[in-house]
Symmetry: none
Subunit: 310 residues, 2 copies
DNA sequence: AAAGATTCTGGAAGATATTGCAAGAAATTT
DNA sequence: AAATTTCTTGCAATATCTTCCAGAATCTTT
């Protein structure tokens, strides 16, 4: 085995497991720990990997291990399930706004294989799609908020004022009948801009968020169209929100059992509307690929084939 | 079997397995290791394959500057050295624009410990600083260009029209007395906007870039203030650029030996200017210095706090 | 067709680079 | 602060690379 090959395998393995100890790598590629050390130095110089005491980790964390891993470790299964359900609502060729929450990140994971246009202010989401072939990703500008890995500030807000999307998928710190709240005041401005820019607004909230308030007020219940939550959400509370005209999708509950709430909402039910409308949307891809297609759609609304929902 | 046929088979095999040792190839095509060596040298000269210790691998990326494969070990040492030298020119509290080239990425690595304001359209650079304590990072918006990991499009260009930076650090595909050229036309617009937004423009070019032209014209020599290159740059060529009034910093050459070219350039020498001018720059928060002049893009007071978080 | 010249091939010797180990230094943990 | 782990550095063993040479194959010339 050549040195390059070995380094390639080290890199691949670290990519897979996010963090690997020296012994682990040594066993994996069949070389001594010393050699692994040297290889890691080389790989670090190349920028692919970052060394730590006792091993190596990814420079560009693939998952939310990014900055919010601690927060995210909780309710992981629930968030995963919410992500899967929410992703299944998205139709091909839609334009989707994704915020920087951990729950939304799990939605993004399940969107990777779909042909979509993604607009996000989340660095982890952007990294997730960075090498994706199918999706085209627009990252808002802004200042990196280190702990969360999201882009904030007027630059980010402005981006959403200039685009229109089919769906916005957001998360929040808590929901009550008074409305939604979030824990970071900075994110409020951006989330509002996201909501304004999208035809439909979906919130992903795990069961711990129900009937809970966070520090900063985001919007009242008129601001959103649907909520996706997990099966541990208190049924009575969920029902009270449905009475208020909100479409609440619960993981595990069969779709047929849900009330569409067609009469109440200002727009048709997410599921019913989605299919017929978007299937006729022409494919975005031109002959030259995503790159050639790109320059126009941000600035000029005409080429933005995202306005199909209205 | 003819030599050409054998080389063809070698190439095909390497294409298939990505890495191949000499013995493996020797067995594969039925020739001695010596012959394989020679063939590999020929194939490498032709550019189809790259040699490594003990074997060969295929040239994954076309080795142009902007193919951001983290695996790109092309001129790694040189780029590392350039990055170090270039980073040493940056003073604390400056606002620095960084482009998405691999050489500039190495500059970024050496800037991590400094207290700076970074503006970039490079996802890898953003990730590098994402958890950085000292630097504040502004990422431009734009569409992710997958292969390069940079943000392109009008959104990215617009960002630079709204900011002012002290220094812009860029790279290019080639430089001649006619000017600079780059390999990706998409990047030209953004690089020009970067150059316009910055008080001083520095290009990082390894020795392979001298006297070489790439496909797309970027700007003529008036557009830049200084060049940082490695010691393998052809001295005669370097001298011809100095005669044209350019400040060329070569890795390893002592600073004193360099001609400041004060008279020719439109602005004072980078090194001489850097210390007196920028050291008196008041901290970013106030409203007078070149850095503080930028709040155009950080309009809201909330985002200013970003610097102090953590 | 034969002799000579040129190129190609395979191998060997010295030079260079890589690998694995061990001892001391540094960092982390208890 | 001591103990443990991990990191760096130096060194010997190994592997690989380059350079050179002789024989084989191919081409050219007569």
């Amino acid at each position: 085995m050549t040195a390059e090959e070995r380094q390639h395998r080290i890199e691949a393995h670290v990519q897979k497991v996010e963090f690997a100890s020296l012994e682990e790598l040594s066993r994996q590629v069949g070389a001594s720990v010393s050699t692994i050390r040297r290889d890691l130095n080389i790989l670090e110089a190349a920028g692919t990997i970052r060394r730590t005491h006792g091993g190596a980790r990814l420079t560009i964390p693939k998952t939310d291990e990014f900055a919010f891993s601690a927060r995210d470790a909780h309710q992981l299964d629930e968030k995963e399930a919410i992500g899967k359900l929410c992703a299944s609502l998205i139709q091909p060729n839609q334009t989707v706004v994704l915020d920087g929450g951990t729950t939304v990140f799990h939605v993004a994971k399940h969107l990777q294989e779909k042909r979509l246009q993604i607009v996000t202010n989340s660095l982890p989401v952007a990294n997730l799609f960075a090498s994706a072939q199918h999706a085209e990703v627009i990252l808002t500008g802004g200042v990196i908020y280190p702990r969360l890995g999201v882009l904030v500030g007027p630059l980010a807000v402005k981006t959403f004022k200039e685009i229109h999307a089919d769906v916005a998928i957001l998360s929040a710190g808590g929901i009550t009948l008074d409305g939604l709240t979030n824990s970071h005041a900075l994110l409020i401005d951006i989330q509002r801009a996201m909501m304004d820019s999208a035809g439909r607004v979906v919130f992903c909230l795990d069961h711990t968020k129900w009937d809970r308030k966070s520090v900063a007020f985001l919007c009242d219940l008129d601001g959103l169209d649907a909520i996706v939550t997990d099966s541990a959400a208190p049924p009575a509370v969920v029902e009270s929100f449905r009475d208020r005209g909100l479409e609440v999708l619960v993981v595990g509950e069969p779709v047929i059992d849900r009330k569409p709430d067609l009469g109440m909402g200002k727009s048709p039910s997410l599921l019913e509307a989605a299919v017929p409308v978007y299937e006729e949307t022409p494919p975005r891809v031109s002959a030259t690929g995503p790159i050639a297609a790109e320059p126009a759609y941000v600035e000029s609304p005409t080429t933005v084939n995202v306005a199909t929902w209205d």
